[in-house]
């Protein structure tokens, strides 16, 4: 069965400094991996998606993630944090069953950005 582990429940950074949100996955085959972001009282928004093409995936708002099979990791990074990045971030793996998919979510990492 697929699973994801987000290693930090909270990450706090200063505005303008780099962001690193860590995620490790477990999968019995080549997985599809996602990062979603959830701002307060807003729906989940797709940041980026990895589906076995390029291992470095670029997403919206300057975020990117690198798929490392040897480390079973899919960490999310951004060179310079902005106040508007404060939100909860979910690492997600797609669990394929027959011809359908359901998403398996990590427990989430809350990003705090200090001015």
């Amino acid at each position: 069965a697929q699973s994801v582990t987000q290693l930090d429940s909270h990450v706090s950074v200063s505005e303008g400094t780099p962001v690193l949100l860590r995620c490790n996955y477990s999968s019995s085959y080549s997985p599809s991996l996602f990062w979603y972001v959830q701002h307060p009282n807003k729906g989940l928004q797709l940041l980026l998606k990895y589906t076995s093409a390029a291992t470095l995936v670029k997403g919206i708002n300057g975020f990117e993630a690198e798929f490392k099979k040897s480390e079973t990791s899919f960490h999310l990074t951004k060179p310079s944090a902005h106040m508007s990045d404060a939100a909860e971030y979910f690492c997600v793996v797609s669990d394929r069953k027959d011809s359908s998919y359901k998403l398996i979510f990590g427990s989430g990492t809350r990003l705090l950005v200090r001015p």
């Binding site: 797709l46 979910f90 998403l103």
Partner: protein
Amino acid sequence: GAGVSQSPSNKVTEKGKDVELRCDPISGHTALYWYRQSLGQGLEFLIYFQGNSAPDKSGLPSDRFSAERTGGSVSTLTIQRTQQEDSAVYLCASSLAAIQETQYFGPGTRLLVL
């Protein structure tokens, strides 16, 4: 067109009452999913619909939960005899087809059972 919409945005109910939550998927999306987001359990899959196929109900926590999707579009999630542990945000998502992995989420319905 418009994104996934859900109604109501908030629902407060008394323990033991039934509630219905509605989801309108993105037009043209054939796959529809319900998830639940709660403090103790995080985000968990509940049920999935694809066209006229039998739904995948493997995530429903009890037989008090049911869902239907009429006409391949709008879906209703029904919780009977609500319990306090049902309090959560119920999220609906849709995708273009079952084989499309990218799911687009609605804003959710926040359910509070008193």
